[in-house]
């Protein structure tokens, strides 16, 4: 650390070059921060703590096929199942298809099964007693400026009413909050009573989309899932049960191999970056050969010269990298604040920063090592003579 001013002086020797290189590194890490935030958001969706102890039972034929309501009580009796609810995807549109948010018809005990959100007790009471009652997440309520007591009309895409009309109107009776801070996805849903939905819909009466179970311990997920699937084995409505995490992971992997795309882009970016900063460092050392020779003459050991040049390279990359990551943090934060729930980006924090720091150090050492070796091996006499 006591030689820090030497490293700093070396970097400031050609300010323009240092600044240009720092900006290039900054751009690379800005991209890394943003892309990794997307990758993390998708990976997290299949990796929730609550998702390991929740099971989803759906028709083996796929999500578009229904299951009979009678399975509810059969699943309840499976040992290890603590609570069961059932859900139907409603797919309603609020004013404009661009306003997309998940809206579902759920069993009135939904809040006993899902552990991601909390609804105040008196609002839960209202939800369980109001026929056309609906509850929404806080993020959604904020986005559309909804207050308790508001009437919310949804235009059905899948489920028309008995009279053939597509307009369903719900009364907002509660607003729930996510248990995990910043869990915008959990707060961007609208839930309403399945009973009201079932009585008013044109077809499909007495059937449900899928079941969701809360189980005692994640270790038993496999056994319980098999026990639930056994209920309907060889019937005309066989089921497939898996953890909520497994369901989310497979859903995302069908959308795209996000992590492959992100790694592909980042490989191209960092390969270019290596070349670029490597070139800068080679130039910087080539110009300073006589200076390094002077350092050696006045008693700097080979190793100190090596570490000086290495430190310079690492420091150069770290400055750009940290600035880039800070910028990525600001950009992602800003985007999330502006766009809200539809944006699959995780906050740039913890693990993303960790990966970035490791990358900075590795890249710094790689680009520094050849010039540093050159500096270490130079012969004082030759270098001073300019040979």
């Amino acid at each position: 650390m006591k030689y820090f001013h030497l490293v700093w002086a070396a970097l400031m020797r050609r300010k323009t070059r240092t600044i240009f290189t720092v900006v290039s590194v900054l751009a690379a890490f800005l991209l890394f921060g943003m892309l990794d935030s997307v990758r993390t958001a998708f990976a997290d969706a299949g990796n929730r703590v609550s998702g390991a102890s929740q099971l989803i039972t759906m028709n083996k034929l796929g999500l578009g096929s229904q299951l009979p309501l009678s399975m509810q009580s059969q699943i309840e009796r499976v040992p290890g199942v603590q609570a069961v609810t059932h859900i139907d995807w409603f797919g309603g549109i609020y004013q404009d298809p661009k306003n997309f948010f998940p809206n579902m018809a759920v069993g009135s005990n939904i809040f006993a099964v899902t552990r991601d959100v909390t609804l105040p007790p008196e609002q839960l009471q209202a939800f369980q007693t109001t026929q056309d009652g609906a509850v929404v997440g806080a993020a959604l309520a904020k986005k559309f400026g909804w207050k308790i007591g508001d009437k919310i009309p949804l235009e059905a895409t899948i489920w028309p009413k008995k009279d053939g009309s597509n307009t369903w109107t719900f009364t907002l009776v509660g607003i729930f909050h996510a248990n995990k801070a910043g869990d915008v996805n959990a707060e961007s849903q609208m839930l309403f009573r399945w009973k009201y939905f079932d009585e008013a819909r044109q077809f499909g009466k007495g059937s449900v989309g899928w079941y969701q179970e809360q189980i005692a311990s994640p270790d038993q997920a496999e056994r319980i899932a098999r026990a639930i699937d056994a209920i309907s084995a060889n019937s005309d409505h066989e089921t497939k049960t898996e953890t909520a995490n497994a369901f989310a992971s497979s859903f995302i992997s069908q959308f795209a191999n996000i992590s492959l795309i992100v790694s592909g882009i980042m490989a191209a970016v960092f390969f270019t970056l290596l070349l670029l900063t490597g070139n800068t460092m080679a130039q910087a050392v080539r110009e300073r050969i006589p200076e390094l020779a002077v350092l050696k003459t006045i008693g700097f050991s080979n190793r100190s010269v090596l570490s000086l040049v290495l430190a310079e390279a690492v420091f150069l990359v770290v400055i750009g990298g940290v600035l880039g990551m800070l910028l990525a943090m600001a950009v992602v934060g800003g985007l999330k604040a502006k766009m809200g729930n539809t944006l699959p980006m995780a906050n740039v924090a913890g693990s993303i920063w960790g990966e970035a720091i490791v990358l900075m150090l590795v890249i710094g050492v790689i680009v520094g090592v050849l010039p540093a070796l050159r500096g270490m091996r130079l012969k004082i006499v030759d270098a001073l003579a300019g040979r």
């Binding site: 290039s24 077809f203 882009i265 970016v269 670029l276 070139n279």
Partner: protein, 438 residues
Amino acid sequence: MKKFLRGLLLVVILIVCLAIWSFLPWYGAVAAAVILALWLVLTRAGRRTLSVTGVGLATLPSRWGASSVIVIGIAGVVGVLVALLAMGEGLSATLRGTGNDATAIVLRAGSKAEANSVLMHSQVVLIGQTAGVARDAQGHPMASPELLLAASLPKKSGQDANVSVRGVGSAAWAVRPEMKMVAGREFTPGTLELDVGKGVAAQFAGMTVGSTVQLANQRWKVVGVFDSGDAFNSEIWADRDTIAPIYHRGASSSSVTVKLTSPAALNQFKAALAADPQLKVDAETTHKYFADQSGGINKLIHVLGTVIATIMGIGAVFGALNSMYAAVATRSREIATLRAVGFRGTPVVVSVLLETMLLALSGGVLGAFVAWALFGHFTASTTAGGGFSFTQMVFQFRVTPQLVWNGLKWALAIGFIGGLFPAVRAARLPVTAALREL
């Protein structure tokens, strides 16, 4: 102050040039290149520029490290940009290329997507008899009621994915004459036989003619592979009356695709549907229906590609600036000598710019070539198509000439920015100081 104003002027010129450049069609660029070439060959200043550029290019091998930074940096930007846009282009081309204006698709009112729509048998019959529907040689309406289902099947990668299964009758082939069997034959109605699209055959495991597939607890035999060149390639087709009871769908359908008497008959057809109180349905040409399904995702990929390329481009610009400033610095004595013997500023500025842009162009060509080589014939699939079935859409990346040209434009723009400032510095070098410098 003067220096600052000059810098400001340079930036303004740069922005104007880039703005014009971004809207320039390819023939505009060709015209500009021809004018430049004529100037280089025919005028005295041009010939001088050419000779200075020649000297600059001759010294390139001695600074291959710095030059390769420009080439590889720009190749990276162009490669990523072209690959991402080729993905969006491929996906939307598949959807845009599906359907035509001579057939219309009828869905339950408000359902927006086939997978969400349910039509009862009585409605299906009424739709076939509506005015505007063409009739075949026997006088039967050319209307194809179809049931869109989903199945979870293993992909070649081993992972299960959802695929669309379309239950159809014989009319389905009649309203889509573009469907071609590339292997095997059409299924026999009333049997557990399947025809699979070319995309499904490419992405899913065990989809060759003669193999059996486990679908909804039944063993189905694949008897044919069809190629429609569009979104139907991502589907499996089976006999509607055989598969509907297995999926408990009774006599209902998802949609009816009808052949119109003429594209102009659409309005008549729509009006007739609206006039029937027993029908609550929406009708649209099949072309418009599929084009609408592609809107969102292509826009998303386009925005994503541009944002990523811009950030990478900024990095590449500064890399190029670094390299070219260094190049100008090492050649400062040579440039000062030229100035001293009477060369003016223009040849120097243009030659440095030319050199950078040539490097940039080769980087752009390299990047576009790598993108084409890796992804030109790459087949991928994603969750697409509206509705609540979330089935796979198989599509091919499309590296179109338009995309390559777009990438080269980016490359040249980056080269221009990276070369302009060092070029101006070279032209303004104080001759005496530069000559004295050793």
